[in-house]
């Protein structure tokens, strides 16, 4: 499948998950996307999957304590200044499950985009939004680049006899990693400018011809979106 129809399908699944007002549809979408993401043959998939799971799990665990809704109290907690009563109700749990499954579906759609799509072909397929697509593609590379830089820095520190341990020790690398990625971004911007980026009259490599699978993916994206708007 070409990357543009695949991206459209992923976007439609993410939108449908956001439009749903019950937890079952986004949970089903998340499950489908999880199976898709597990097909990625890179060890990095576990970083993305752990991130998606951690975020949606945190939303499910924390949000019942942060909202006050419903009358079926399952657990009565203390009253905390600013936050109010920490009661957990059945309605709050249902809402937390829906928010968590929405977030899981969205983050898994992003994971599938980051790990499985050919971003270069996506940029080439983008007509009017080429700049935005390139910006998104470059931003998508930030995570793997940061991960590689972090591994390199830790290795260089070990090579100097310095061992960083624990979350606090590793947290000291956050600032240099971000500074490094800013510097890299500037160097890249300079190289892009020197190669004519932003000049009017740009052309692009001819796109590969659309296949029947591409057409089916585009049709499925439209169907998913319509179903999301009308029935979910």
């Amino acid at each position: 499948m070409s990357p543009a129809p695949a991206a459209a399908l992923l976007a439609a699944l993410g939108a449908a998950a956001l439009l749903a007002d019950r937890s079952a549809p986004p949970a089903a979408i998340a499950l489908v996307l999880l199976v898709v993401c597990l097909r990625a043959r890179t060890p990095r998939r576990w970083v993305y999957l752990a991130g998606a799971l951690l975020m949606s799990g945190s939303v499910f665990v924390l949000s019942p304590f942060l909202q006050s809704a419903g009358s079926h109290v399952l657990w009565g907690g203390p009253i905390v200044p600013v936050l109010g009563s920490l009661d957990v109700t059945r309605e709050e749990l249902a809402m937390a499950a829906m928010q968590a499954s929405r977030l899981a579906a969205l983050s898994l759609a992003f994971t599938a985009y980051a790990l499985l799509l050919d971003h270069d072909r996506l940029v080439q397929a983008a007509g009017f939004a080429r700049r935005s697509t390139l910006a998104v593609a470059l931003a998508t590379r930030l995570l793997p680049t940061l991960e590689r830089d972090a591994v390199g820095m830790l290795e260089a520190l070990r090579g100097r006899g310095v061992a960083l341990s624990g979350v606090r020790g590793r947290a000291t690398l956050v600032s240099p990693l971000l500074a490094g990625s800013l510097e890299r971004g500037l160097n890249l911007a300079e190289a892009m400018e020197a190669r004519g980026y932003g000049r009017p009259g740009a052309t692009r490599l001819p796109r590969a011809r659309r296949t029947a699978l591409d057409a089916a993916a585009l049709a499925a994206a439209v169907v998913v979106l319509v179903v999301g708007v009308l029935w979910l």
Binding site: V123, M153, L157, M192, R195, G196, T203
Partner: protein, 445 residues
């Protein structure tokens, strides 16, 4: 008409009182082959950026004088508008890769300058073939080695068929064979080429004209023969040299012994010992597994076969100086390896010529200074085994001589393993020159 004209060019970067370039006047004619020499921080990279129009457009700063490329004033034309007439390959190939596939990467510039779509694929293949990298066309850019990336960057520049090609230390990551092939390729190009180099021997054979920058001033602008005479008198370290024979063998007990060591197919069955007081230079082509072997010796990787014996502590200097930029001040960065002892950190900085830079932010250092900072970071740990992976990358010949002298002066009491493509440096510093092919078991070599 000259292809490039610089008249009384003076430039300072923003927030810098010092002039990076001062009163530079020169002409570059179509098809000329020019090499730019000079110490680290002398303004070579800035001169190339000026010719590309990136100075002052991209960097800002104070700019005086006039620069014209193909009759166009660079203050009025954006660098993107000069693309195609000018093409550049910068020092670090990793920082200029935009796309994730080689084909798309080489096509990127062609698309930007409006090449007809049907012609792009053919031009991509032809330019990759011209640098011997046609086989990489479908590869992912993040899977390539430094040497392969450098070829892809050159192919991307050549695809634009520029009239002026600017190269900033293009052979810094290439092995001697690849570097020779690279300059042979440059010799066949019809365009003018301006190449800044820190390994001058091949560049001086290839070039027609030599520029020498010192403190931002153009000290020399002469044909090669005249330039060689001038260098002989004023800057002999920049003269081409014949690799020296290794020094006398040392006889200390082994600090590190690798016995039929292998690692995941990247290093196969290799045996090597480094004695105390001995400096061993390990050479081998790009991608032959030198870095992996060094990491095995340093204990940073566990071998998948064979045995590594290390007597004492090892310190490993990575090829990438960006990995030694963790703290906010240069002296604090070095003191990380000395348990916070600032006096030892300052002594290590002085030994690599960075005294006076103690309070600067590591990211404010030039690339050559960052290389030396990395060296200070490992020297301060006073290791029993010192492993240096390409320690002369981006380092000028005079500084290389001082580095060789420093390593030889301080070699007693530790074993030193230097991985390098720089055979001149290897000959000067090493007691023993070892080719990776020699220490691999024959069946796997």
């Amino acid at each position: 008409m000259a292809l490039a004209r610089l008249d009384d060019l003076t430039f300072s970067y923003p927030d810098s009182a010092a002039r990076t370039l001062g009163d530079v006047t020169l002409r570059i004619e179509p098809g000329e082959r020019v090499v730019v020499l000079g110490c680290s921080g002398s303004g070579k990279s800035t001169l190339l950026r000026t010719l590309a129009g990136l100075v002052p457009h991209f960097h800002g700063g104070r700019f005086a004088g006039r620069v014209e490329i193909d009759g166009r004033d660079t203050r009025r034309e954006r660098p993107a508008d000069l693309a195609g007439t000018v093409a550049c390959v910068f020092q670090d190939p990793e920082d200029q890769i935009v796309m994730t596939r080689v084909e798309a990467e080489v096509a990127f510039g062609l698309e930007n300058v409006g090449t007809p779509p049907d012609a792009i694929a053919g031009l991509v293949r032809r330019s990759l073939a011209s640098v011997g990298a046609e086989h990489l066309v479908e590869r992912r850019t993040y899977e390539l080695s430094g040497g392969e990336l450098q070829r892809v960057c050159l192919a991307a520049a050549l695809a634009l068929a520029p009239r002026l090609l600017l190269l900033d230390e293009p052979t810094s990551q290439l092995d001697p064979g690849a570097a020779t092939a690279f300059f042979e390729l440059l010799g066949e190009l019809p365009c003018a080429v301006v190449c800044a180099e820190q390994r001058p021997a091949r560049a001086l054979e290839w070039a027609e004209r030599v520029l020498f920058l010192d403190g931002g001033r153009l000290e020399l602008d002469a044909p090669v023969d005249e330039a060689l005479d001038w260098l002989r008198v004023h800057r002999p370290a920049f003269l081409p040299r014949v690799p020296a024979a290794p020094n006398e063998p040392a006889s200390g007990a082994a600090v590190c012994r690798l016995d039929s060591v292998g690692y995941e197919g990247r290093v196969g069955e290799t045996s090597l010992a480094v004695g105390r007081g001995e400096i061993v230079a390990l050479v081998g082509p790009n991608g032959s597994g030198k870095t992996t072997l060094a990491k095995l010796a340093a204990g940073l990787l566990e071998p998948t076969s064979g045995r590594v014996e290390l007597h004492g502590r090892a310190a490993y200097l990575s090829q990438d100086p960006g990995r030694y930029l963790v703290r906010e001040r240069v002296e604090d960065e070095v003191a990380l390896g000395s348990g916070g002892d600032l006096s030892r950190a300052r002594a290590a900085l002085a030994s690599v010529g960075l005294d006076g830079h103690e309070h600067r932010h590591p990211r404010d250092l030039s690339s050559g200074e960052r290389e030396r900072l990395g060296l200070a970071c490992v020297l301060v740990t006073e290791p029993d085994l010192l492993i240096l992976d390409e320690p002369t990358r981006g380092v000028d010949p005079e500084r290389k001589d001082r580095l060789a002298e420093l390593l030889r002066t301080e070699r007693d009491g530790r074993g030193t393993l230097v991985l390098t493509h720089d055979l001149i440096f290897a000959g000067e510093v090493a007691d023993r020159l070892v080719s990776l092919d020699e220490v691999r078991e024959p069946a796997l070599a």
